[in-house]
Structure formats: structure tokens, C-alpha cells
Symmetry: C2
Subunit: 238 residues, 2 copies
């Protein structure tokens, strides 16, 4: 059909085989693009084409101007479970980490007014966090919380689980969760916060959490590296 008649596919297969053969292990750096050129009369652009392919497959990733690295395995995320990031990552034997990038009070705009069923101008908290697994930044999130439901929220330490703060401090439990997911490209802001090249493929996860009274408690936009996540849903009917 089509086979390694294409040069960059041949290069891709070479590298993929060396990774599969554990010559390079997860987290390790590959030789530089120029080093890969030596020996075979291959243009650097062709090498890069092969690397892009492996990146799209989730096999490798890059650190800007540092090099190409072998990807660690993805974590499994089940949107029908209530566990937060910290607990499901840990349960999979990985080391989760959260950094709060900013937390401020803002006024409710048109879009948020619609989502939260609150008047325009009502106080809201806006929290931006970066989350990492085993030291690699994997997602950036922007959270909006209705300030009238959780007054003083941003004075708490939010580097752990937001869900448990809402529960233990404010007695707010989540009764309904709406999750939207869509492949996307990481645009300027997200890419910068994840320290990746803008335009890299990612996965957008938008969550809306409701309490038992049907009020929107939390509106969360997450942008994941496309190679860091696997979604798993298990549904039963009776």
C-alpha cells in the first residue's frame, strides 16, 4: 500500500522501534535533531516531520528549545466519578501537583450570568491553576465559583482539592456534573502556561458542577496536553 518508501515514515519507525525497545525510556531525552541527521543524507526538515508524527501519536513530546522526550503513560480520567485530580492521579501511582497561578474576585459578565443564573455584576471568584504529574505540567484550568456560595474562598489554600474545600468549609456538595470534551489546539495563553509551543494539539474539558438545589457551584475549563489523558466511562442501566 504505502510503506517506508516515505523517508520520514522510515525515520519515524526507526525512532519508534528504539523507544519500544527501551533504548529510550519515558522522560528521557532523544538525541538532537542535528545528531539524528548524521550518517544518513537526511534533511533536518524530514527528521522534524518524523518527530511531529510521533508527537501526534503521543509517543514523544518537546520541551521548548530543550529537546524531544519520551512521553510517560497517560492517566485515566472518569468523568462520572467525583474524585478530584489529586486523588485519581495518586491512585494510579503517579505524583500529582497543583499550583495556583492566580485567584481574584471578578464581576459576573454576560456569559457567566447565563451559566450561573446570577445577575451581571454579581461577585465571582476566578481561579487559575496549573497541574502536573510527576513534574510535567499536563493541564491548565480556569475555575469560576459563585462568591455568594463560598465567601472568602480565595483566602484558603487552593493547591489541593477545591472540591474538598467547598465540602468541608462551606458544606457544598456536588450533585450533578456536566462534562464536555473536545480535541483542540492549545492557544497562546494555555500554551504559555504549559510551557509548550502554541498550536500543539490538546483536549479541552469543560465542567459545570451543580449542588443539590440545582445551583451552579463551579464552572471549570481545563486544557490538557493531548498525550496526558485517557477518558474512561462505565455506564449501567437497570
Amino acid at each position: 500500500m504505502q510503506q517506508p518508501d516515505l523517508q520520514y515514515i522510515g525515520v519515524r519507525d526507526d525512532i519508534a522501534a528504539r523507544i519500544a525497545g527501551s533504548e529510550f525510556k519515558p522522560g528521557e531525552r532523544l538525541p538532537s535533531e542535528r545528531q539524528m541527521q548524521i550518517g544518513g543524507g537526511v534533511a533536518r526538515g524530514t527528521i522534524r516531520e518524523a518527530l511531529f508524527q510521533l508527537e501526534a501519536e503521543g509517543v514523544i513530546y518537546r520541551k521548548d528549545r530543550s529537546g524531544w522526550y519520551v512521553s510517560p503513560p497517560p492517566v485515566v480520567y472518569d468523568p462520572t466519578r467525583w474524585e478530584g485530580f489529586m486523588s485519581y492521579v495518586e491512585a494510579q501511582g503517579r505524583r500529582p501537583e497543583t499550583e495556583t497561578l492566580s485567584k481574584v474576585e471578578i464581576a459576573c459578565d454576560d456569559m457567566l450570568a447565563q451559566i450561573f443564573s446570577r445577575p451581571v455584576g454579581a461577585p465571582m471568584y476566578w481561579i487559575r491553576r496549573r497541574r502536573s504529574i510527576d513534574g510535567r505540567a499536563v493541564l491548565i484550568e480556569s475555575i469560576i465559583v459563585d462568591a455568594s456560595l463560598a465567601p472568602g474562598l480565595v483566602e484558603h489554600d487552593l493547591d489541593g482539592s477545591l472540591t474538598s474545600v467547598l465540602k468541608s468549609v462551606y458544606g457544598i456538595g456536588v450533585a450533578r456534573n456536566k462534562v464536555d470534551m473536545q480535541p483542540c489546539a492549545l492557544t497562546r495563553d494555555e500554551a504559555e502556561a504549559l510551557r509548550v509551543k502554541s498550536g500543539l494539539p490538546g483536549l479541552s474539558v469543560i465542567r459545570t458542577c451543580y449542588d443539590a438545589q440545582g445551583r451552579v457551584v463551579e464552572f471549570d475549563r481545563e486544557y490538557w496536553r493531548h498525550d496526558a489523558l485517557k477518558v474512561s466511562v462505565d455506564i449501567r442501566v437497570r
Copy 2:
């Protein structure tokens, strides 16, 4: 921070703006790469970089050696619902289509034996289908069904809903559904069947359906174009 100092970002923004301004509408073809070069001293590689960026964002897609086209909006898929492709695509005002590429009986191998809890060598049906929306191929799927549960299945017309054939002809209802989703790259076979360039980003959806007795009825691997799909899950607890 970074802005249209990057040439290809400037080109990207131009094209994106012309699409947003409805100069080019969904399904329409963009000017050729070489036509876009005229006027500005821009190398073709730079134009292509901009096009790749828009492709990653899901804004445009390509037909091999034909040109670049504006992407139609994605369909919404809810893995917690039982509706099949044909019905939820239609419900969203789009025109679904299914082609059966092949349907054969095969012997259960090690992997399938594990999944279906059946002996190695047991008869299974293997069905490959291509599904389109509004005339554009969006996913390719490979389905395995336990032949002992649905004898003669492949003699039926499978260009519609498989679920409804299983239900109406064999009385098999699905009681549990396990769905895994992961961003991936479309590899040789899938890419060929979707008539896209191999290596394009995609979404892999793997479904395992169980009946009321807990038997695996159907094992389905789907590979979607990354720009054709949006996943939405709505979960409640009581």
C-alpha cells in the same frame, strides 16, 4: 508576549479572520497554497505552517491533493446515552451515513478471548464500517460480536443501526457500556479508510457493551477525525 511577529501566526490570523467573516463557509475550498503566496514574499512552507495550525484547531481540513476546506461544526456525542450514531446525528440536523466495508467470521484470538470470556477459536463476527456526516467521512470502526449470541448476524444489512438489529432480531439489549476515549494519531489503515493523510490527529473511542447477564455482546473500536466530535456527559447522583 508573542504576537504576529511570527509570520505564520500572521497568516493564520488572516485566514481565520476571513473564515470568521464568512468569506469562506463550512465545506468551501480555500485558495491554493501557491495562490496564497502571491503578493506577500512568503515561502510556501510558511503558508503550510499556518494551515497546519488551523487544522489542529479543527477550523479547516484537507482533502488529499485536492485542497483545504472549512470544517463543518462537530456533532455532540454522549457516551451515557444508548442512541446510536444514526439517531443522534440526525437529531442534530445532520445527515448520517454508514457503509459496511467488510463483515466476516473470524476465530477468537487471545485478546478477544480475554475480553469476551470465550475460548480461543470460538466464532466471532468482525465488521468494519465507515460513517459519514453530510457526505464527509468522520469515523472508521471495527466491531467484534460474539457469533454464538447472534448467529447469522452478518447476513443482515448492517448499514443502519447495529444496536437495533441486535435488539429486534436477537432480543439482545445492552445493560452496560464501557467507553474509553483517547486522543491519537490516525495510522495507516484508518487514515486510508477515511481518505486522510496518515498521522493526522484523531480520537480513539473504544466501547465494550454488556448484556443484562454481564456477557460482552459487542466490542467496538472507533477512530474519529479530531474535528468531527464533541463529547458531552451529564452525571447526577442522588
